[in-house]
Amino acid sequence: MKIFELENISMAAGFLLLMVGIWGIISQRNIIKMIISFSIVDTSIHLLLVSIGYIRNRTAPIIGEGVTKTDAATQITDPVPQALVLTAIVIGVGITALLLTYSLKLYRHNRSLEINHFNSLKW
């Protein structure tokens, strides 16, 4: 059955988390909750990227006991998405730290974290 394979399960979970995160970003009014939703979207995209690189019955791209140097190409999963996710995690940390700092600035300015109270750009 196709849906019960590991890569399909992780990909479905990734899409589900993506939906949850997007729903959170557009429906929540508290800025901290929006930042948490943003982190959920971030994580879901990592999950999607890794499951795209997964190949069944293969192991991690590290040459050692399980993987020989000569036929590594037939024994490992795709290392490129994993390197991309490594980059994405670090960028995600930076973005989350920046978002939290901006929210702190907004709180100092307005004494509130409700998005409805920030209406200086509305007319």
Binding site: E5, E7, N8, M11, A12, F15, L18, M19, I22, W23, I26, S27, G53, Y54, I55, R56, A60, P61, I62, I63, G64, K69, A72, A73, I76, D78, P79, V80, Q82, A83, L86, T87, I89, V90, I91, V93, G94, I95, A97, L98, L100, T101, Y102, L104, K105, R108
Partner: protein, 236 residues
């Protein structure tokens, strides 16, 4: 008004769900590597000498991306420092002293956590790990330092020097790669050594250790900035 808002929300989420169901339906699991990944798998161990192929991609093949990534982290730390800066002298902290348990336990734990962080970034070319992970572990030991000695002010200077020196050495090693080997950030400026030992893979362990120090210093700086406003928020 509420009905309008909820139906708009439902419309957007429904459209996204429809799009994602189609993406999911068209996905077919793969049974072979694509050409780029196959090149890295076949030639990576010979060309870079690193047992961990992800490390050989992150540090050597896509080393320029990693330089950009480190720059983004640096920019984040700099922007946070700029935004949260307050006037000198106005900072009064009235934080309770840390308990006996916390200070004793962190005295034991801080050296161990720091050692684990250093181990992780030095073995990045052999085991699943590397500079970014090791740097994050180092920063977590710094959180423990901040918790244990919360009533003292900790200077930025050591962190700033660590960050600056490791960043400059990273770029200098990259330029040495142009002069002595095949190109920017080429790791063959040092001998490749025995495959699978600590001193192998040319400059990869050196570069990853520098990245680890730099990431650890940057994340610690971010935590320090966010920590220093804590006492002053309570006064307001």
């Amino acid at each position: 008004m509420k009905i309008l808002r909820n139906s708009a929300l439902l419309l957007i989420v429904g459209f996204m769900a429809w799009m994602m169901i189609h993406l999911y339906g068209q996905y077919e699991s793969r049974d072979a590597l694509n050409p780029v990944a196959e090149y890295y798998a076949v030639n990576g161990p010979e060309e870079t000498g690193a047992a961990n192929l992800v490390t050989s991609i992150v540090v050597t093949y896509r080393g320029l991306d990693t330089l950009g990534e480190v720059t983004i982290l640096f920019l984040t730390a700099a922007i946070i420092g700029l935004l949260l800066r307050t006037e000198k002298g106005s900072r009064k902290k009235s934080v309770r002293e840390s308990s006996e348990f916390l200070s004793t336990a962190s005295g034991i734990l801080i050296p161990v956590i720091t050692l684990i962080g250093i181990y992780i970034f030095m073995n990045g070319h052999l085991t699943p790990g590397g500079g970014f992970q090791g740097g994050a572990v180092l920063a977590s030991s710094f959180i423990l330092v901040l918790l244990a000695i919360s009533n003292k002010r900790i200077g930025h200077r050591l962190l700033d020097y660590t960050e600056a020196i490791s960043g400059i050495s990273f770029i200098l090693l990259g330029i040495l790669g142009i002069l002595l080997a095949g190109g920017f950030l080429d790791n063959r400026i040092l001998p490749l050594g025995n495959f699978g030992t600590l001193f192998s893979a040319g400059a990869i362990p050196v570069i990853y250790s520098l990245i680890g120090l730099k990431v650890g210093a940057e994340l610690s700086n971010v935590i320090l900035e966010l920590n220093q406003i804590q006492g002053e928020e309570e006064e307001l």
